[in-house]
Every structure is written in structure tokens, then in C-alpha cells.
């Protein structure tokens, strides 16, 4: 019995590190990492996974189980150590299995700074470039825009005026909040999903359909910029709406 316990104690560190490496590699291979981390951190996870496998191999090669002549640790000490390995292993594996594909509308409500959504920071150079490209596009065709592009446009009175009524095509998650118009939401991620902030546009017009909460939808409609008490909130007057696949990058980068 003591011999088995010694063997388990010996192999536990290598098993835990290999499990972490495996979970990391699986997360990368399945693309689930796109829902968790911003692009700049993904290579770090890959490197860490490979290093953990190397460390596990080195550990097994360079160390050995405690000798049987050595004094056996107290049963409570061994149990405590076993518990430590389980704390390292179980939450990680459980989270890798249970974590959903997107943050829900419950979290959207919790993370919004007001009853609506957090404003997009206006320092976003890429979004300003996209907004200008949308202004320059053919006015007779639906312009592909992100939710954040419409918010960026709404920060500039001149651009907003020039873009009012233009037909746009955009993708996002549907969120129905009680006593509010339905919204099309995209999450903006700085480092990881834990710091993601929602950005959204209101949907008006014909939004009827058997759409589920948090479903990915593609919306075509006219961009509008109604103002309430001086606050402009972009809105799409919907012409057509249909389900669509989750984008390869479900989060927008700031």
C-alpha cells in the first residue's frame, strides 16, 4: 500500500503538468482559445504547453520515487498533498469542458456600465479606419460593418450625418432585455474573456423570428443615430435578419 502511495506521489507532478499541457493544446487545436484569449497571448499558451511536457519528461528522467527505506510521510500530509494536486487538476479540466462558446446576456447586464452598454473607447484607430472605409463604400450596396464601427461613427457628428440611412450588414449576438429594444452585441476583449466588455447597437423594425437569446445573427438594415438627452445610440432599422455562424474571432479587438 505504501509503495503504491509512493508511486502515485512521484508521478503526480508529471501527471498534473502534462494534464495542463494537454488542456492547453486541446484548447488551441479546437479553436476554443479564440473565445478565451486575445491573439497576442495565444502563442504564449502554446509555448507554455510544450514547456510543461518537457518539464514532465525531465522530472521523470531526473527524479525517482522516494526510497522505501525513507520515512513515510504522515497520512494527513500525504492526503493534503493529494488534495493540492486535485485542486490543480479538477477545476481546470471542469472549466475546459463546461466553458460556453460566448458570454451570456446575464454577464452582459453585469458588465455594462449603465443600463445600456459601455461606450467604445474612441482611441480605437482600427475602428476609425473601418468607419471611414464604410463612408467611402458604394452607397447602393450594404456596407459590411462591425457594431463598433457604428459606435465610432456615432462619436463624430459629421460622419454620423454622412452615414445616416446607409444600408449596412453586420453580425452579432442577439440580446433581448426586458423593457428595452433587442440589441446586437459584440464583445471587445483586451487580454482575456474575464475583461471583455460589451458593445451593441439597437435593432428596430422587423426583428421578428424564432431567434434564441445569445444566437449569432446577420442583420441587414439602415443605420440610424437617434439622440436621447444628447446621448447618441446607434440603431439598425432591420430589413432582413438570418442566423449565421460564429465568426472565427468571436471577440473584437480594441
Amino acid at each position: 500500500m505504501d509503495r503504491i502511495a509512493r508511486q502515485i506521489s512521484f508521478f503526480a507532478p508529471a501527471a498534473v503538468m502534462s494534464a495542463w499541457g494537454t488542456v492547453m493544446l486541446r484548447t488551441i487545436a479546437t479553436g476554443h482559445i479564440n473565445r478565451l484569449l486575445s491573439p497576442m497571448f495565444r502563442n504564449y499558451v502554446l509555448t507554455a504547453a510544450l514547456l510543461l511536457f518537457v518539464l514532465s519528461a525531465l522530472y521523470v528522467l531526473l527524479y525517482q520515487p522516494d526510497s522505501e527505506t525513507a520515512p513515510a510521510p504522515a497520512p494527513t500530509g500525504r492526503l493534503r498533498q493529494f488534495g493540492r494536486w486535485l485542486v490543480l487538476l479538477v477545476p481546470l479540466v471542469a472549466a475546459s469542458i463546461l466553458s460556453p462558446s460566448a458570454l451570456s446576456s446575464t454577464t452582459l447586464t453585469n458588465r455594462s456600465s449603465t443600463a445600456g452598454v459601455a461606450p467604445m473607447p474612441s482611441w480605437n484607430a482600427a475602428s476609425q479606419k473601418n468607419a471611414q472605409a464604410a463612408l467611402d463604400a458604394d452607397p447602393n450596396q450594404p456596407v459590411p460593418v462591425e457594431v463598433t464601427d457604428l459606435i465610432t461613427l456615432s462619436r463624430s457628428p459629421d460622419q454620423m450625418k454622412a452615414f445616416e440611412g446607409r444600408k449596412v450588414r453586420t453580425v452579432g449576438l442577439l440580446v433581448n432585455q426586458p423593457e428595452n429594444a433587442p440589441k446586437l452585441v459584440r464583445w471587445i476583449m483586451w487580454c482575456c474573456a474575464a475583461d471583455a466588455q460589451p458593445a451593441s447597437v439597437e435593432l428596430g423594425g422587423n426583428v421578428s423570428g424564432n431567434w434564441k437569446e445569445d444566437q449569432w445573427l446577420e442583420v441587414v438594415g439602415a443605420a440610424q443615430f437617434p439622440s436621447t438627452l444628447g446621448h447618441v445610440a446607434p440603431r439598425i432599422e432591420v430589413e432582413s435578419i438570418k442566423p449565421t455562424q460564429e465568426p472565427d474571432e468571436p471577440y473584437l479587438s480594441p
Binding site: S9, P13, V16, M17, W20, M24, T27, R35, L36, L37, F41, V45, A48, L51, L52, L55, L58, Y59, L62, Y63, Q64, P65, D66, S67, P73, G77, R78, Q81, R84, V87, L88, P91, L92, A94, A95, S96, L98, S99, P100, L103, S104, T106, T107, T109, N110, S112, S113, T114, A115, A118, M120, P121, S122, W123, C191, C192, A193, A194, D195, Q197
Partner: protein
């Protein structure tokens, strides 16, 4: 003014909590933090093998006061994230660096480093960025000075866990992180340096990882389940605003290079509330509390928590109440 400060509008009710979202946030935090923790453990292992204790002591200033300034200066120059810092700081203490100096560096590096200041400037580009950078840097510096001069008066055995106390990690495995991990070298191996390095990295990584997992769970729970709008009504309040900023920082547990972007977009908060958020968060929060517990005694971490937050509150309150 006093009554105005407590004139609280009603706050919206909480939306509840989504447990799958907590799992998603937890998974994201540990995946983001683990590579930096591993990097910290590798640097710690290199320090263990290649840096003699005497050499580090020779580099350090002799006086404690100079040591505090040197630690804050090192925090300015060497950017180090919160997760990566823990194994390195523990190793430096075991190599003979005074705990007060190592701890001051640990507190200074995340908040004062140039990356945090640059991200603050970017995030507040349309909201008086230089004022925010100067206030964040200045208040962080003052709080760190206060904490540094408190730390130098403390005995190491009051601050440190038994396993972090100075001494040879190899001779006394029970006095190291992850004390239950027994490393028995294979006989006849001629790779002494590699063996020592591997043992150090595994011990440090698995030892601190446990606390990262616990801290990430707390951070995921509150960053997902806490309704930020609950603090919005007091965000402009002269007295409660800074308190709300500090509380939000404790619950959201953001990295110091990200926090400015989140709080810049949080319109309901006043400037003092935002500065309180930016100063308090990198010093200590719910995640860092658990990471600090990997090296320090609980009573010390509680005292540090109290002092860090009280000093931040007093400074931001003075700024808030200025004529």
C-alpha cells in the same frame, strides 16, 4: 457638501450570475496567467542555479531606506506582471534579499512599470491623459513609499510563511513552496545543474499555481457576477466615489496593463474614483490576495491589504475634496 456626498440615487438590481460564464472567465484567467507564472518559475530556477546569494547581496544598497527606493526604481525599469513576479520574489528572498525590499519591488513592478503608464495614456487619450498618468504614477509612488517604510520595520518571520523563510531549498524541502512535493534525485546522474533547475521550476510553478487557481476562481466569480451598475450611483460622489473605485478594483482583479481601458470607458466614475481604481488594483485585489498567500503569512497580507487600500483612499479623497 457633506449631505450632497451621501445623496445616493437608487441602483439597478443585479442581473444574477451565469455559472457557465464564471467557468469561461476562470478558464481564461488561468490560461492567461499560467504562461507568465511558468516564465517566472523558469527565471527563478535560473537565479537558483546561476546567481550566488553573495552576488545579490553585493548589488543591494546597505541602508533600508535606499533599499526601498531601489526596489521602487527597479519596479519602474523592469516590467513584471503580478503572476510572474511571485516565484521570482520568493526566490530572491531565499537568496538573501531582505523581504521588505523584495516585497516593495513585488508591489511596485505591476503598477509603476512603463507599460502600465503607456496603456493609461492610450486609454484616456480623450480624457486628459497626462493628468491621469501623473495622478496614477504620483499616487502609486506615494503609496509604495508608505508601504515600503512600513515593510522595513517588520520582522521577516512576521511577514513570511515558514516555507519562504531564507535557507537552502534543497537541504530543507519542507521549507519551500509546495512542501509536500518530495524530490528524490536519481542516483548516478551527472546533470546536477539541470536537476536542480528542473526541481526548482517544478516546485515553484506548482506551488504558486495552486494559489493562482484559487485567486482566479474568486476573480472569475466577481468579474462575471458583480453588477457594475450597482456602483454607478456613487461613482461621482466625493467620498464614496474613491471607495467605489477601490472596491471595483478588488472585485474585477484586472492586469495593470488592461485596467485603464476598462475604467476609462466607465462613464459613471469621477476622476478620483478612476484613480483609486488604478492605484489600488495593481497593489492588491482578490486574485493577488491568494497569490501573496503563497509566500506570506495571512496576518501580514491582511495588514498589507488594509494599509494599501487606506493609503489609496486617503490620497484620492484629498484629491476629491480639493477646492
Amino acid at each position: 457638501m457633506f449631505f450632497a456626498a451621501f445623496d445616493l440615487p437608487s441602483a439597478p438590481a443585479s442581473a444574477g450570475i451565469s455559472w457557465p460564464d464564471v467557468a469561461l472567465s476562470f478558464f481564461a484567467i488561468v490560461l492567461e496567467g499560467a504562461p507568465f507564472l511558468l516564465l517566472g518559475a523558469i527565471i527563478s530556477g535560473l537565479v537558483d542555479v546561476f546567481l550566488p546569494a553573495g552576488m545579490i547581496k553585493d548589488w543591494l544598497p546597505r541602508s533600508k531606506t535606499q533599499g526601498v527606493f531601489a526596489a521602487i526604481g527597479a519596479g519602474l525599469i523592469f516590467p513584471l506582471c503580478e503572476c510572474g513576479a511571485m516565484p521570482i520574489v520568493q526566490r530572491l528572498i531565499r537568496k538573501g534579499v531582505p523581504p521588505a525590499v523584495a516585497t516593495t519591488y513585488m508591489l511596485a513592478a505591476p503598477g509603476l512599470n512603463p507599460l502600465a503608464m503607456f496603456s493609461t495614456f492610450l486609454a484616456f487619450r480623450n480624457q486628459d491623459p497626462w493628468l491621469m498618468v501623473v495622478l496614477r504614477f504620483g499616487f502609486s509612488f506615494l503609496v509604495l513609499l508608505f508601504l515600503g517604510f512600513w515593510l522595513v520595520r517588520l520582522r521577516p518571520d512576521y511577514m513570511l510563511r515558514a516555507e519562504t523563510v531564507m535557507g537552502s531549498a534543497r537541504a530543507k524541502p519542507e521549507m519551500t513552496p509546495n512542501p509536500g512535493l518530495v524530490l528524490t534525485p536519481r542516483p548516478g546522474q551527472s546533470l546536477g545543474g539541470l536537476q536542480q533547475f528542473t526541481g526548482s521550476v517544478i516546485r515553484d510553478f506548482t506551488g504558486v499555481l495552486l494559489f493562482l487557481v484559487i485567486g482566479a476562481a474568486a476573480a472569475a466569480l466577481f468579474s462575471t457576477g458583480f453588477n457594475r451598475s450597482l456602483l454607478a450611483p456613487v461613482g461621482q460622489n466625493l467620498i464614496l466615489g474613491p471607495l467605489a473605485g477601490i472596491l471595483l478594483a478588488q472585485l474585477l482583479c484586472l492586469c495593470s496593463t488592461t485596467d485603464a481601458f476598462i475604467i476609462a470607458a466607465f462613464a459613471p466614475f469621477s476622476i478620483p474614483a478612476k484613480i483609486a481604481f488604478l492605484v489600488a488594483g495593481p497593489l492588491i485585489d482578490l486574485k493577488l490576495y491568494w497569490l501573496y498567500r503563497s509566500a506570506f503569512q495571512a496576518r501580514f497580507v491582511h495588514a498589507l491589504w488594509l494599509r494599501a487600500l487606506a493609503a489609496t483612499f486617503l490620497l484620492t479623497l484629498l484629491y476629491s475634496l480639493k477646492p
